[in-house]
């Protein structure tokens, strides 16, 4: 029975199972280590696929697991009259809905592909895989957590794991990249934590009445906060008579805006939004290939997810008022990223700025405040996850063969490595939004949604697609077309172990491009709930 078995816990902690097994294996058994790591990454993929099969789009939050993890007793003076306890409750709370599901699938899939791609990691394999699997647990947890602090813990877990993965296994300038990453993202986390604490301290208040006694609880429970924010009257009125007329939970308009803006900044760093993007460049350039696949494919999506889940769902009225700002920020990211990608000399940096540009499309979709646009944003998250993972994987394969990703030093690879070049071309076409591949759907739905309310922004963003095509073709054709350089003649095409993740990623890009309903079907109902709430509220 799905209700009684904690499937989501299994899902989140399946990679940790791998960690435990890994610790028991001697470090010299490299094949075995790799096998265990891949198996440990396959397990969540299998589980999430099974959950996808079981998922019923009509039911709001599924496979819910809720437990009070810790109760911290607060000020005893409040215990008067019928109030029997006054506590802070730290909840363990996981749930799956139509927004989480696609991202969980994405995380599990990219994780698995990245584990396969880790074959090129040559030093300290054991600790690499341990950090890798910890990272996977963190990102799965982020998309499933429904308690603010639990979310924060998972979020931080990814930061720590990323830090070590970059700093130890990265390329030349790895330590600087890792430090920049940690400090900048740490700053984002601090802002996020501040916003969460404000939320917990205000809207996180619940008064549970039972048989003549009242329990006063502060918690980071997402549902409680969402309910309180949705209906401020109820909880504002509830508080005074319980608390002798004193109402510490009231959330003024300024407070709501403060929290919303803090969240926008915190998740804007992660997404990233111009001009908070500089940290990302170093990571994309210096981190090892599988880690960049995960970073660009999944971790950036946590920013958008957080923005949607905590920014927009909790503060729909504020978000709606800020829609124009979000859309213009998105447009700025699109054009800024695209123009900079056009002038980069390193293929990895082209991809890095292209991520910035494509995440701008997500902002456009979110700013639309209709189902089409938000569907488009979620779709774009998944689609860009797959596409950028594929492109970074190929960049890694090229770097492994030629020792460089500098565009000026590459050319004509289509002759010596036709398979890799072909996949690169396909990935590039997906990235520039060719119909039939997933990139188009996300882009089109985002534009279509936004066009209803903001025509000028949409038209400018659509015009930006010409620049996207320009930088994609410039770099992809620069690498694959043209005369072959002497150094490139001896190169070997992809081995099977490299080809498998490439083909798998491409297959999903094509599947989503041809049959987007796979994804849109699951997202629709969750969004409907949000949108109807918006209609009531606004």
């Amino acid at each position: 029975m799905p209700e009684t078995i904690p499937w989501l816990t299994f899902l989140v902690f399946a990679p940790l199972l791998g960690v435990v097994v890994l610790l028991l294996v001697p470090r010299r058994q490299t094949r075995l280590l790799r096998l265990i790591a891949v198996a440990a990454a396959l397990l969540p993929l299998a589980l999430s696929l099974w959950l996808f099969g079981q998922y019923d789009a009509a039911v709001p939050d599924q496979f819910r697991e809720q437990a009070a993890w810790m109760n911290v007793a607060l000020n005893r003076e409040a215990l008067s009259g019928s109030v029997t306890s006054f506590i802070y409750q730290f909840q363990y709370d996981l749930a799956l809905d139509g927004i989480s599901l696609p991202l969980v699938l994405l995380a599990a899939f990219i994780g698995c592909m990245a584990a396969l791609a880790s074959v090129n990691i040559r030093k300290r394999r054991k600790s690499y895989y341990v950090w890798f699997l910890l990272l996977e647990t963190g990102m799965l947890g982020v998309f499933l957590a429904r308690d603010l602090l639990l979310f924060f813990l998972f979020f931080e877990l990814t930061l720590v794991a990323m830090f070590f993965l970059i700093a130890i296994w990265g390329y030349f300038d790895r330590e600087k990249a890792a430090n920049t990453f940690l400090i900048y993202n740490g700053l984002g986390s601090a802002v996020m934590l501040f916003a969460f604490i404000l939320l917990i301290y205000t809207a996180g208040f619940q008064a549970v009445e039972a048989a003549g006694s009242v329990e006063l609880i502060y918690s980071g429970s997402y549902d409680a906060i969402a309910a309180n924010l949705l209906n401020p009257e109820a909880y504002v009125n509830l508080a005074p008579n319980l608390m002798d007329g004193d109402n510490p939970f009231y959330m003024s308009g300024e407070m709501r805006w403060t929290v919303f803006i803090l969240l926008l900044v915190a998740f804007g760093i992660k997404l990233p939004i111009v001009p908070l993007h500089t940290w990302m460049l170093h990571v994309h350039k210096e981190a090892p290939v599988p880690v960049v696949m995960i970073h660009s494919g999944v971790l950036l999506k946590m920013g958008a997810y957080g923005l949607l889940r905590f920014g927009m769902f909790l503060f729909p009225a504020e978000a709606r008022e800020a829609a124009a700002v979000i859309a213009w920020l998105g447009l700025a990211s699109i054009l800024y990223g695209a123009l900079l990608a056009l002038r980069q000399h390193d293929f990895k940096l082209v991809l890095a700025y292209s991520s910035l540009s494509h995440m701008g499309i997500v902002l456009l979709g979110l700013a639309s405040f209709n189902e089409i646009g938000i569907q488009g944003a979620v779709f774009q998250l998944v689609s860009h996850g797959l596409i950028s993972a594929l492109l970074f994987l190929i960049a890694g394969s090229i770097q492994e063969r030629t020792g460089t990703t500098e565009l000026a030093e590459l050319g004509g690879l289509a002759r010596s490595v036709p398979f890799i070049s072909g996949v690169l071309l396909a990935g590039g076409l997906a990235s520039l939004g060719l119909p039939g591949l997933s990139g188009f759907v996300g882009e089109f739905l985002s534009f279509l949604g936004l066009f209803e309310s903001m025509k000028v922004v949409t038209v400018l963003a659509a015009a930006g697609m010409v620049i996207t095509a320009a930088y994609v073709l410039r770099s992809v054709l620069g690498i694959t077309f043209g005369p072959l350089r002497e150094s490139g003649e001896e190169l070997r095409d992809a081995r099977l172990i490299e080809a498998v993740p490439m083909i798998a990623l491409l297959a999903f890009i094509i599947l989503l491009g041809l049959y987007p309903s796979v994804l849109t079907g699951t997202t629709a109902d969750s969004l409907q709930a949000f949108l109807s709430q918006l209609r009531v509220g606004g």
Binding site: I183, Y184, P275, H277, T278, W279, Y336, L339, L340, L342, R343, Q344, N370, E371, I372, Q375, G412, A414, R415, L429, L434, P435, G436, F440, V441, F444, L445, F447, L448, F451, E452, T458, V459, A462, A463, M465, V466, I467, A469, A470, L473, R474, L477, T480, F481, G482, P483, L484, P516, S517, T520, G521, T523, A524, D525, L527, Q528, L531
Partner: protein
């Protein structure tokens, strides 16, 4: 009447798709088997298309539509589906016929290429996309296939990817057409939000904009939508000012130039407008724009074709010019004229390109000044090319004469004397550049020049696999005009396409016929005098009007204009932003980090073990505390 084959019309594009998948998967192991697979697939498409066409020719068959949800949620729906109408049936037959002939021809032309399997894979993918484009029953689906044919075109232009010119041409083709595609995309967005029920299907569009008036959508919006759709057509069909990619696209293999860049894909813009014609009819401004751009392009491109030296580029400019004629027809309100010319042009221009390919295959050069006297060596090529050239020049009774005549008559009847004059002038130039081309390539004594310039190699007629398609294409190039004659009761094509509302008769038909025949004859005669007989010196024009020839040879400097006004500034902005990103954005981040480090250093310096420093710090802290506590009262 019951429709049988129309139900299976969806299979028509599926055959080449299957061939593409087989070729893509089976890879390099196949050579002959690969080309046979592709040919068999396009033959299957051809047979089914012809069956569908025959079914529709009976006249009473109902239009067939089937549509499915692509993305459907509670909030919105986007569907895909296919439509079998007279127009689509006609296009299907034309596309699959030319595709089949080109596949066959390529077996000879590309015989020695290592990557012939890849070539056939791309051709199959293109045929699939083009047939899908034709069958699409709504604008979004059409847009998707529209992009796919664009990508196939891009891949095939860049087929010889090691050549820098091919790489540049492929990139240029993609980017320039993408500019137009953005327009089309915005048109889709607008239609989605302005159409009732968010309908994008062509039948719904026709209903809403019916009879040239729609009460539902404001006039300004209608015009905007029409012009945006036209922007897409400008890009794809190489109309001014987005024509620059098409001549460069000649870097691709010649069979591709025939299939994609002459007969099918570039005509997709015309097809698109025909498919959404009710929107255009609802906006006089849009119609006028289409007509003017078309007429201008027709004349403009024909003038450039006069002085080019590359055999294929001349034909490319000729294609641009003829597409301009089609646009002119649509803009002047003659849907039949546009489609009629699309059809005849598809055949005679495919014929001309394949003939050109046959010549290039034999002499290994594309410069017409290095050719000559090929008429005696390559008789089949010369004869069929001649038929194509005469059809293009508009000589009666070949197909091009009738279709061009229909356009010119419609323009004159609509009361556009200026446009009519432009069309007539373009016709004159067309006859002139075609006779120049023909006499330079095929005329003159055999062997004299060719022998010298192409080495001692003997020039031979192409193999049968290449000449048979030429002969097959020569038949419709000569005779297809008979489906639509400008007399009462003879306008079979128009009445079949448009139904009872169509009347083929134009008041000025006879005048136009005489004028256009005279113009074509004059052009051919002058060409013969200059390039055939040599009575007038070839350099006479260049000597008298050097600046004009210079401007024409440089194609009016449009490429340079784009380079300096668009490409360079965009790259410049990019460079500025790189600096901005590095020094301003990055600098701010470094500054913030630096300040933190600085504060830390300052703090460290305070911890120096000296009592004086600690005392000072304590005092400072005390002051702050006092101010804070005391100040709070006044806050």
């Amino acid at each position: 009447m019951d429709t049988v084959y129309s139900h299976y019309a969806w299979l028509i594009p599926i055959f080449p798709l299957g061939a593409f998948l087989i070729l893509a998967a089976a890879g390099r192991g196949m050579r002959t088997a690969g080309s046979v697979t592709a040919m068999a697939a396009s033959l299957a498409s051809l047979v089914l298309s012809v069956l569908v066409l025959l079914e529709r020719l009976n006249g009473r068959a109902a239009e067939y539509n089937a549509s499915f949800d692509w993305i459907a949620t509670r909030g919105f729906q986007l569907s895909i589906g296919y439509d079998v109408t007279n127009l689509t049936a006609l296009m299907l037959a034309m596309v699959s016929l030319i595709s089949f002939l080109v596949s066959m021809y390529s077996a000879g032309y590309m015989k020695n290429d290592d990557r012939i399997t890849v070539f056939y894979a791309y051709i199959s993918l293109f045929t699939f996309s083009m047939l899908g484009l034709v069958l699409a029953d709504n604008l979004l689906m059409l847009y998707m296939f529209w992009e796919l044919v664009g990508v196939c075109s891009f891949l095939l232009i860049g087929f010889w990817y090691t050549k820098p010119a091919a790489k540049a041409a492929a990139k240029k083709a993609f980017l320039v057409t993408r500019v137009g595609d953005v327009g089309l995309l915005i048109a889709v967005l607008m239609l989605f939000w302005y159409m009732p029920e968010h309908e994008l299907s062509f039948s719904a569009i026709q209903n809403v904009f019916n009879e040239g008036q729609s009460g539902l959508i404001a006039q300004g919006i209608t015009t905007a939508i029409a012009l945006l759709i036209f922007t897409g057509a400008i890009g794809k069909s190489g109309q001014f000012p987005l024509h620059v990619w098409l001549p460069d696209a000649m870097e691709g293999p010649t069979p591709i130039s025939a299939l994609i860049h002459a007969a099918t894909m570039v005509a997709a813009g015309v097809f698109l407008i025909a498919r959404t014609y009710s929107i255009f009819e609802a906006s006089a401004a849009a119609m006028e724009t289409v007509a003017f751009i078309g007429a201008f392009t027709a004349l403009f491109a024909a003038s450039i074709a006069m002085v080019q030296k590359d055999l294929k580029r001349i034909l490319a400019y000729s294609t641009i010019s003829q597409l301009g004629f089609m646009m002119l027809a649509l803009g002047a309100g003659s849907l039949t004229g546009g489609i009629f010319h699309l059809l005849t042009h598809a055949f005679f221009k495919a014929l001309l390109f394949l003939g050109a390919g046959s010549v290039i295959h034999a002499v290994h050069t594309q410069n017409i000044h290095e050719m000559g006297g090929l008429g005696q060596r390559m008789r089949i090529t010369a004869w069929t090319f001649g038929i194509g050239a005469l059809a293009l020049a508009g000589v009666p009774p070949l197909s091009g004469f009738w279709s061009k005549d229909a356009i010119l008559a419609a323009v004159l009847d609509e009361g556009h004397p200026l446009l009519f004059a432009a069309g007539l002038a373009a016709s004159l130039l067309t006859a002139l550049y075609m006779s120049r081309l023909f006499f330079l390539v095929f005329g003159g004594k055999s062997g004299a020049k060719t022998g010298a310039k192409t080495g001692s190699r003997k020039v031979l007629e192409s193999p049968l696999v290449m000449t048979v398609p030429l002969v097959v294409l020569a038949v419709p190039a000569a005779l297809l005009g008979l489906v639509e004659l400008p007399w009462e009761g003879w306008g079979k094509l128009g009445s079949w396409l448009l139904g009872s509302t169509y009347s083929p008769q134009h008041d000025s038909s006879a005048v136009v016929m005489i004028m256009s025949t005279a113009v074509a004859a004059l052009g051919l005669y002058i060409g013969w005098l200059v390039y055939g007989k040599g009575m007038i010196s070839r350099t006479a024009a260049a000597a008298r009007l050097p600046w004009l020839v210079n401007v024409l040879e440089n194609k009016y400097y449009i490429d340079e204009l784009y380079r300096y006004c668009i490409v360079r500034p965009v790259l410049g902005i990019g460079t500025l932003l790189v600096l901005f990103d590095r020094y301003i954005v990055g600098g701010a981040v470094r500054l913030a980090g630096g300040l933190a480090v600085l504060a830390g250093k300052a703090g460290t310096r305070m911890q120096n073990g000296q009592v004086q420093t600690y005392g000072l710090l304590t005092a400072a802290g005390l002051v702050i505390l006092i101010v804070a506590v005391a100040g709070r009262r006044f806050w």
